[in-house]
């Protein structure tokens, strides 16, 4: 006879499942079915073409359905790379990487084997293009096809991080040349040919993506026959759904950490890790009230880092010294402005002959960003600066600094931003180059010295010299008055103890590498 559980956990399971079923028309698998991995994504995918993909599900799906030459390990284990689509890949010399593709890799839809010509097509179409991932191939000269399964990647200059920056994900996903050309040279939500451990099986828009094992895959077999990715934007709803046994893995809000620790669901494991996601405040030097560097510096001095970290991140994060993660050997030791100084801020404003300054802060509507915005607003009020918070939804937010969306990006004043970072510092510093103004460099930070150092950082092989270069670049950023470095956000996720997740450097899961515990 069925025993009804009347304790809190039982109630939560029933209530959560009912709520999830009501709010998400997609059918959840009600229990962890041995061969099905159920994970959560925060937003639906937009584009699966590596050239135009944006992030999260756009990249998680190709991780499963396409192949890359190499694959990264878990970020908590140091992002170690290993050959994946290549059975053999190694440096021939500092500007050449030789590779041999795994035998038996076949495209779906009858497009034949994966060839080095596909590799050449995939990389060279992105290098020098307007793709957001063009930076991955900035040092790519060309790909030489040497035989049916082998090729050589030629770089313009020596660039040691190429293997981990360019090859494992995003632009590094290999696509089928013949199939892509057949559909006009690019695609959006339907890949014309797949070759990965999984195949795209079903998509319920804004609800669920289902991937099933690819019977033609000859590489290492994934642990799960099916991957179901549920799209749940709200962290609270996702947490509730996890407690109702609707997911095997979900990322959580930082603010949930204390509560979940106090009442850990049964058979669940909490992941607390340092993420590569960096958060900062943009101070646009091109906006009229912020053209005077003393005004921008006044904002930097008036900012109370301790209050923001405690209020928005529950003290789980530390102040960042730049955009290079604290776990990196290249991280900067300290900020140029080490502590808050409201009097100095006031003095700078007086010196600039600025009074009654009112600035608009554009901020996404999630609770963490809004908390930062309100604490920042209170900080600035102490220095006599009025901040008007403009809570902004995703689409309008990203248009705010986008030059293709009108001239608004020129007069945007302040914005709170955060990006998923990469492994090499250049992956995080790239967004602040002059050519990114009107794209992701919303501060109009335009430094020739920064650009020159960036180029040096790409090719310099000596680690100590690279560290000096990157530290100097962050000094330039801070000294410009254009940025306040907030923190690297903590990574909080929860999973069933029956699965062992793998998290990539960008903070997103890699379902292919998930195993059964």
């Amino acid at each position: 006879m069925t025993q009804w559980r009347t304790d809190r956990r039982g109630f939560l399971q029933i209530a959560g499942a009912a709520l999830a079923a009501l709010t998400l028309p997609a059918k959840f698998a009600w229990a962890a079915e041995g061969d099905t991995l159920r994970i959560r994504a925060t937003a639906d995918f937009q584009c699966l073409d590596p050239k135009n993909m944006i992030g999260e599900l756009d990249e998680i799906i190709p991780r499963c359905t396409q192949v890359a030459l190499v694959r990264l390990g878990d970020m908590r284990d140091g992002n170690k790379w290993q050959p994946w689509g290549a059975e053999k890949i190694d440096w021939i010399d500092p500007t050449k990487i030789g590779f041999t593709l795994r035998e038996g890799l076949q495209w779906s839809n009858g497009f034949g084997p994966v060839t080095p010509e596909d590799v050449k097509f995939s990389f060279e179409r992105i290098a020098g293009s307007d793709s957001a991932w063009a930076y991955q191939f900035e040092k790519l000269d060309h790909v030489e096809v040497t035989d049916a399964r082998s090729g050589i990647i030629h770089l313009k200059e020596a660039f040691a991080p190429f293997m981990v920056i360019a090859l494992p994900y995003y632009g590094g996903n290999i696509i089928c040349k013949a199939a892509t050309e057949k559909v006009g040279g690019s695609y959006t939500t339907e890949a014309p040919a797949e070759c990965g451990p999984y195949r795209f099986a079903a998509w319920e828009q804004n609800q669920k993506v289902t991937l099933t094992a690819n019977p033609d895959w000859t590489g290492p077999q994934p642990a799960f026959a099916t991957v179901e990715i549920y799209i749940v934007t709200d962290d609270q709803a996702a947490q509730l759904a996890f407690e109702a046994d609707a997911f095997d893995f979900t990322k959580l809000a930082v603010s949930a950490t204390a509560q979940i620790k106090a009442a850990m669901p049964a058979n669940a494991t909490l992941i607390e890790a340092q993420s590569t996601r960096y958060s900062w405040l943009v101070i646009n030097q091109n906006a009229e009230p912020l053209k005077d560097i003393r005004v921008r510096q006044a904002i930097q001095y008036a900012y109370d880092s301790d209050a923001v970290l405690l209020g928005a991140y529950d003290g789980l994060a530390t102040r960042s010294t730049g955009v290079v993660p604290p776990t990196s050997p290249f991280t900067r030791a300290s900020n140029l402005i080490p502590t808050r100084d409201v009097e100095k801020a006031k003095a700078l404003l007086a010196e600039a002959d600025v009074s009654d300054l009112t600035l608009t802060l554009v901020a996404l509507t999630d609770s963490t960003t809004q908390a930062i915005a309100q604490i920042f607003q209170a900080n600035m009020a102490e220095a006599g600066i009025t901040i008007e918070i403009q809570p902004t939804e995703d689409a309008a937010y990203w248009a705010a600094g986008d030059k293709t969306a009108g001239d608004g990006y020129k007069s945007l004043e302040l914005a709170l931003m955060n990006f998923a970072g990469g492994i090499d510092p250049t992956e995080n510093l790239v967004w602040f180059r002059p050519d990114q103004i009107g794209i992701y460099n919303w501060a109009f930070f335009d430094s020739a010295d920064f650009e020159s150092l960036y180029q040096q950082g790409l090719t310099e092989q000596d680690e100590a010299k690279r560290k000096a270069i990157f530290n100097k670049m962050e000094d330039l950023m801070e000294a410009s008055g254009d940025f306040i470095f907030i923190c690297f956000e903590p990574y909080i996720a929860i999973h069933h103890s029956t699965v062992k997740p793998v998290i990539m450097a960008d903070g997103h899961p890699d379902p292919v590498m998930f195993t059964k515990a």
């Binding site: 209020g311 609770s367 309100q374 918070i389």
Partner: protein
């Protein structure tokens, strides 16, 4: 002894338990809004992140929010925000509605037809979609919220006044005024307006809770009042984000919304009963 009509209406309102309850609740909310600086124990904007999400205590009767602000103080000031927006918006919409309704009902037929067409066109827009469209164009904020409410409310009020005016324009006392050469503004303002205002008052009082809920709903979605201004809607949202840690915020913000809605609804119904001759004649 016969009481003056307005006093009779007040007595009728007080004798009706629901009406009395509505009157008391509304009076309390108005007092709370007016006397917020005196009643609130703390500055509603003062942050103390070290004291975030505290449970109710003697120091903070309703605890603190996720930024350590005193919840009770924010609820009290939230009443001011809600009532300011509701009364301003409804007042503006009512005034414009009266003017347009009188013009439509008493003016030439072509003007009536044109105005009715505009009212119907505005009425045909789904309120929430219309609100979201305006907010997208103008950006969120108190001014935008008031504009939204004014624009969506005017057609209803104007149509009500127009209907009343059309009924009264051929009444004997209006015809008599016309016969003695009274000017149109005099007829509209001195004779028609007092007679059509009663029904509008009832509708206005019934609409106040709708506006309060709209403000709270949009603020909950970060499309209403901008932070850090306290609003029951954004307090409710803050409570939602922290509900797994503490339910105090949700209850604290939800309770005044429920009570204000009930208060204005009861008051509106009480006023309707008290002012409607069909009800007043049936009562002693």
């Amino acid at each position: 002894m016969r009481w003056p009509a307005n006093t009779r209406a007040l007595r009728a309102l007080i004798r009706d338990p629901m009406g009395l309850m509505g009157l008391v609740l509304v009076t309390l909310f108005i007092l709370m809004a007016v006397a917020a600086p005196i009643l609130a124990p703390y500055d509603p904007l003062a942050l103390d992140v070290r004291a975030k999400l505290q449970s109710p205590s003697l120091a903070h009767w309703l605890g603190t929010d996720q930024l350590g602000r005193d919840t009770l103080s924010r609820i009290i000031y939230g009443a001011r925000t809600a009532l300011t927006i509701a009364l301003t918006a409804i007042g503006l919409a009512g005034s414009i509605g009266i003017l347009l309704g009188l013009i439509a009902g008493y003016g030439p037929r072509w003007l009536d037809a044109a105005l009715v067409l505009i009212f119907d066109a505005l009425n045909s827009l789904p309120m929430m979609m219309f609100a979201l469209a305006i907010i997208t164009v103008l950006g969120p904020g108190t001014g935008t919220l008031i504009l939204v409410v004014v624009l969506v409310s005017i057609p209803g009020y104007a149509r009500l006044i127009r209907a009343q005016t059309l009924t009264l324009r051929s009444a004997d006392f209006i015809v008599a005024e016309q016969a003695i050469g009274a000017s149109t503004p005099r007829i509209l303002l001195m004779h028609l307006l007092p007679n059509v205002f009663g029904p509008l008052c009832i509708v206005l009082s019934m609409d106040i809770p709708v506006v309060i809920m709209l403000e709270a709903g949009l603020s909950y979605l970060n499309l209403g009042v901008k932070p850090p201004t306290p609003s029951w809607g954004n307090i409710l949202y803050d409570g939602y984000t922290a509900i797994r840690t503490s339910s105090t915020l949700v209850i604290a913000a939800g309770a005044p919304l429920v009570l204000a809605t009930l208060g204005f609804t009861f008051l509106g119904e009480g006023l309707r009963d008290a002012l409607d001759p069909r009800f007043t004649t049936a009562r002693p």
